[in-house]
Symmetry: C2
Subunit: 378 residues, 2 copies
Amino acid sequence: MKYELTAKDPGCDARLGKITTPHGTIRTPAFMPVGTQGTVKGALPEQVRSLGADIILGNTYHLYLRPGHQLIAALGGLHKFMNWQGPILTDSGGFQIYSLSKLRKIDDEGAVFQSHIDGSRHFLTPEKAVEIQQALGSDIMMCLDECIAYPADRKRAQEALARTAQWARRCRDAQTNREQALFGIVQGGFYPDLRRQGVEDLRAIGFDGYAVGGLSVGEPKEAMMETLSRTVPLLPEDAPRYLMGVGTPEDIVEGVFHGIDMFDCVMPTRSARNGLLFTNSGKVVIRNARYREDHAPIESGCDCYTCRNYSRAYLRHLYVSGEILAMVLNTIHNLRYYQRHMEGIREAVANGTFVKFRRDFLSREKNDGENAADNRDI
Amino acid sequence: MKYELTAKDPGCDARLGKITTPHGTIRTPAFMPVGTQGTVKGALPEQVRSLGADIILGNTYHLYLRPGHQLIAALGGLHKFMNWQGPILTDSGGFQIYSLSKLRKIDDEGAVFQSHIDGSRHFLTPEKAVEIQQALGSDIMMCLDECIAYPADRKRAQEALARTAQWARRCRDAQTNREQALFGIVQGGFYPDLRRQGVEDLRAIGFDGYAVGGLSVGEPKEAMMETLSRTVPLLPEDAPRYLMGVGTPEDIVEGVFHGIDMFDCVMPTRSARNGLLFTNSGKVVIRNARYREDHAPIESGCDCYTCRNYSRAYLRHLYVSGEILAMVLNTIHNLRYYQRHMEGIREAVANGTFVKFRRDFLSREKNDGENAADNRDI
């Protein structure tokens, strides 16, 4: 993997770059659609690509449990299995063990957990997390880290940080395939000195990229921004920076402002399936009666297949009728919205006008929030 | 609408033809995928088209109840509403009133029924059925007919037949837009003289095409073939013949053998959503454990997008994981299977070899049935 920093915004930490992987190039700042179970829910790989995504995310936890990483390896790896020819980043499974499974025991060796599917018992170690990701054949692997609840006291945060550092070292040592990149994850909760320690631990080992973990876990927005502003500047400039599990279009703008290069979130796809559509003039709750006879597309000027071919009235009809196509068409729009958002961001950074872009975007979001009546007249 | 008979098989009643409509040409024998609620479930219109469908079917009953025919008319008609630029045939709603709704009362005037969605009460007359279909703007409309249960005694069949004839006359009279074709429906149960009467009633009025209704309602296969063999030859040669709601690939072969030109059935799409896939060497129940590690496509040699890009192992994984893409990819394959089937049929009729085609197909189906173990090892 190669990271190239191509431009820096003069007014903030925003940066433009390119990551080269064995499966292609990623333009950063990048948003990665989430392909949890070997599919970006509701979209064909060719659609995901044509909507502007350079890279997608796969979930190690899910793929390990079903259909199993060895099966995927036997079938030629995750790219071939799911027919996605571009780069893939896989997470380590740590967050899903924490959030989805029944976590039975965690110690320095690893984590014992129960599958959320069938209750079967499994043991995940840093070595195993790398082994699974190597079997999947992703372009970018993530170290196993220990996630903590929010809020967490200092002692708990410190303990998890120390374990995350040990595990990062073990992940690096376990890696046998250097064609695949490996990213470290900075933990440390909301304690600035612990975050600093987290960065130092990882830099001492040396990774191909660095992720900021443990954010967007229920903390106030200010705490997230504060942590970003104190953590990101400590990261090496010549490696990509990834803000895990984030987020809203607004959070992405803030992340870029603080120097983040990569994002992932289920928000565009999950919202689409729930009939919540993103537009530059606020969110559209498509089931609303107000759209019953609405000739207009979801968003005027949007270049996506859905907006070019279908009215809100039709999409409302599909949604209230429970049709599969509702999810498919909504997913196409939301994925495209997110990628248009990233294109706008990259263009602003390239032009050195990201500070203005951010100001305009946030004030528009604020107005939309104040005017939003879309949930009322269902 | 124009029908052109282009070839007749020398060994049976099979025929090749072309129907020209305001939205394009239909190659017959034709299979029409069913787009019940303004969408062929699980497929984009462009996919349906590229899989080989010349025409789709829309359900008047469903579209009348939701979103309403007036709304669709206000939005530019059904073609524009659902983004399908090819021909559309709409049924009259008669069969759904009989099979889906609570039928409250039927008399010579029309049928009072309760919506299966919200229990609201509606009154459908022949005039109303035409009005709705004219509002939808379909290329081919169907007369309202009275459907009867199987088995039905002679008196009941006779009564429904007489009503169907009266209603056919009223539909023809109610039609104000002659750009849209109108087909009559032959009823008469399994009484050959009543079927003959049904044909005479309709021919006396004169329609653009003729449908055989009331088959595939639970009768033995022989009764269906017997009725077809006695009814179809009575229909005018210069108009298309449509066997409603039929059917399996085998039933289609038999229908063509007896001179039928058009078919529709939910079978390919509904089966796909249930993980049942059609192939030329028998059905594949994709959730079966035997496909867990199967590298092969659903059907070797199939030219569909799904078979070109995905293994059975992947499709099994998507299906057992409950992913939307399972339904989408399975639907693509089954729709393509049906259209490949029609292509094979048309080619055989064009070559004058349909009798051999039929013999080979039916003996293969029989063998598959005997060897089929696919439901056992789930």
